[in-house]
């Protein structure tokens, strides 16, 4: 039985919107921040006041995949006025980026503390079936291709071995006097994403980038789920 959000998006022939992706991940037990969809500047301000500042705003539109490129993400908003202005700016940017883009709303979420960024992904590969990817964010993935793959289903041991396979493991363990990061949490996310891939066969690709890992706990800051 696939999730109703996937059924709905499938029927409409589109990918999951970011707030839907977060909702799906949350219901599957992934560590996601509180996310709310605002459909007006007033609503965005109200939400921000409820969840507390600082907040982040992100555009939600089925046509806009690269949100940052479209000027659709504004971080670290400190008060109601900034939220109101940013809401309008984001919507205007999106319209300018793609005049035909249908704008569902703007996502409001608390600004996260900085931490170590990792990338977790799933690609349904025509040869291998669902494969799970792990890597450290930024240059580790882009330049050094410091990533590891496993096939779903993953055991905890698989998850541990794939983390250890990357050079990023040393950093997760804590270097130069830094405390170790929540390795267990990372393993859980890897196992869960493989389970989700097996359960929801319509999902072609999942991109959790970045996931911020703290000494205790971790949080998915950006999620893309493609059907």
């Amino acid at each position: 039985m696939s999730h109703e959000l996937i059924k709905k998006a499938g029927k409409e022939g589109r990918n999951l919107l970011e707030h839907e992706a977060f909702f799906l991940l949350k219901s599957a037990g992934f560590p996601v921040p509180a996310v709310y969809l605002a459909r007006s500047a007033d609503e965005a301000v109200k939400i921000a006041e409820e969840i507390g500042f600082p907040v982040v705003l992100k555009i939600v539109s089925p046509q806009i995949i690269h949100k940052t490129e479209a000027g659709g993400v504004i971080l670290n908003l400190q008060d109601s006025m900034e939220v109101r202005e940013s809401y309008q700016a984001i919507v205007a940017n999106a319209r300018q980026y793609n005049g035909d883009a249908e704008i569902t709303g703007v996502l409001v979420t608390p600004m996260s503390k900085p931490g170590l960024e990792i990338i977790v992904g799933m690609v349904r590969n025509p040869m291998f079936g669902p494969t799970v990817m792990f890597g450290l964010g930024g240059i580790f993935v882009e330049v050094f291709k410091d990533i590891a793959f496993r096939r779903a289903p993953l055991t905890k041991q698989d998850a541990e071995e794939m983390i250890k396979e990357t050079k990023g493991y040393e950093i997760l363990k804590g270097i130069r006097g830094q405390s170790p990061r929540d390795l267990e949490g990372v393993k859980e996310v890897l196992v869960k994403i493989s389970e989700l891939a097996l359960r929801e066969e319509q999902i072609k690709e999942i991109d959790l980038n970045p996931v911020v890992v703290y000494e205790e706990g971790l949080q998915i800051l950006d999620a893309r789920i493609l059907l």
Binding site: N125, M127, F128, K145, I147, F149, R151, Q157
Partner: protein
């Protein structure tokens, strides 16, 4: 009820690939008197190795080849024909298959000829389909086309034209996606101090019917096969392959030389077989996950296969390097040091004291930990005694022994000192005797009676690393099974 029936009437049914590997009769269609043709060499090979079944050469006009009666066509062979080897060119193959179908007794066909779907030319793709549909209807299984077929050293069946393959069979069976690489691995294996023959060998060609997965499964169930080796360029249904490999790797090691590691390498692999070369990083990860030992070179494949077949696995990852010469010892340590899964052993005080007694005064013992430079003054007996000490140490899971015998150290004497210790050890001992003709006799003594030998220290080290990784994998499987039970 059923089980009673089964117990009463024991039917030894042949598994599908038995009609290939354990065929009792073979017809070679396209047999030839011309030594420049495959149809000649296949017969010559099969006679030379002493195939135990019946051989029927088929040629329209020739009466005898190598003293074997020749038949004008398949239909005129009076006896039973289980396997046909088709060496005639492409467009003649369907007619042969129809004859085989009419006979009714043919169960398997190896089609050597090229010029089918691998060319991607539509009419030739169709030709392969035609051959296959005739075979399917008649219940004939097909190997190839575009392949060199199979070897079984148990019954001495050999449909290849690889020269001089000695039939000294071991417990390693092999699958190749390349005929030439597969054959060169066979020949390279002959070129060991003690020639190393495979138990079974198969080149799959276009895999129109029998594919890698089915052969893997067959080897997995084959009692005579203890280790499976493979040369792989790419596989489309990788998920199915891995599912099957995962079941087997728990019991039998699977070693794969998977090429296409670089982008240019993988492009070459793609155009070579027309099959997907795939993403190397994914292969790397999923092989590890499945317990497949990935090797990078032909020599690593053979070295590791030999070690798996001849030596016990280490119980843990603590390795002792016992060397008679510093340089080669360091080369070995470098290789080990680069592998995070392997660590150097910690020797007990007792072992260190014993070694101090046994070895010459200039020996460097346990500095660094697990490393012993016995010095060039260590003679045959000292080698043996030192090996016994480190093997008895509970902190040691495996030993790499390296020697560059000087003129005053007799390699054969050394081998005789070591052979019983290596043979009776429950821990693996990989012996590196450097080098060349001077040590060859010694290596033969060791390989015939105990375990693999090496000419270069990094080869011994790579092999030990693969053994440790295999041991880790099995340990992990056991732990996981334990977790599920509790």
């Amino acid at each position: 009820m059923n089980s009673y029936k089964k117990g009463k009437k024991k039917v030894v049914s042949k598994r599908s690939l038995d009609h290939f590997f354990n065929a009792e009769s073979v017809a070679v269609i396209g047999a030839s008197k011309d030594p420049g043709k495959a149809g000649n060499q296949i017969l010559k090979n099969m006679l030379a190795v002493g195939y135990q079944g019946k051989i029927y050469p088929v040629h329209p006009t020739v009466e005898k080849i190598f003293d074997l009666k020749c038949y004008p066509d398949l239909t005129s062979i009076p006896g039973k024909v289980e396997l046909i080897v088709v060496v005639i060119p492409d467009f003649g193959v369907p007619a042969v298959m129809r004859q085989a179908a009419r006979r009714g007794d043919v169960k398997a066909a190896i089609i050597i000829a090229a010029g089918f779907s691998e060319t991607k030319i539509p009419e030739r793709v169709e030709l392969e389909k035609e051959v296959l549909s005739i075979a399917k209807e008649a219940g004939i299984r097909v190997f190839g086309p575009n392949c060199v077929g199979i070897i079984n050293t148990v019954n001495h069946l050999d449909t290849t034209f690889a020269p001089n393959i000695r039939q000294s069979f071991r417990e390693v069976s092999f699958i190749s996606q390349s005929g030439a690489t597969g054959a060169s691995i066979l020949m390279f294996a002959q070129d060991q101090p003690v020639p190393f023959g495979f138990n079974k060998w198969a080149h799959v060609g276009n895999m129109s019917d029998v594919d890698i997965i089915e052969i893997l499964k067959y080897y997995g169930e084959d009692e005579k096969t203890k280790v499976i080796g493979m040369y792989m360029e790419g596989i489309e249904n990788a998920a199915d392959f891995l599912d099957e490999a995962g079941k087997i790797s728990v019991e039998k090691p699977i070693l794969i030389l998977k090429v296409g590691r670089s982008e240019i390498g993988s492009k070459a692999a793609e155009s070579h077989t027309g099959s997907l070369a795939g993403v190397d990083l994914i292969y790397d990860g999923v092989f590890r996950q499945t317990g497949i030992t990935r090797v990078m070179t032909i020599e690593e494949l053979l070295d590791t296969a030999k070690a798996f077949a001849m030596q016990p696995l280490p119980r843990g990852n603590r390795i002792c390097v016992l060397t008679e010469a510093g340089g080669p010892g360091i080369i070995c340590m470098d290789e080990i040091g680069l592998c995070p899964q392997v660590t150097m052993a910690t020797l007990s005080q007792k072992s260190v004291a014993k070694l101090e007694e046994i070895l010459p005064p200039m020996a460097i013992i346990n500095r660094p930990s697990g490393y012993i430079d016995m010095s060039a003054a260590a003679l045959e007996k000292a080698h043996r005694e030192a090996l016994e000490v480190v093997l008895a140490d509970e902190g040691v899971d495996g030993v790499i022994l390296i020697t560059v015998p000087p003129t005053f150290l007799q390699p054969t004497l050394l081998a005789r000192e070591l052979v019983e210790v290596v043979k009776n050890s429950a821990k693996p001992v990989l012996t590196c005797l450097m080098a060349g003709e001077w040590v060859k006799e010694g290596r033969i003594i060791l390989e015939e009676n105990s375990g693999p030998t090496f000419d270069l220290p990094q080869r011994a080290a790579r092999t030990m690393i693969n053994m440790v990784k295999r041991s880790n994998f099995l340990q992990r499987i056991m732990e996981e099974a334990g977790c599920n039970e509790s």
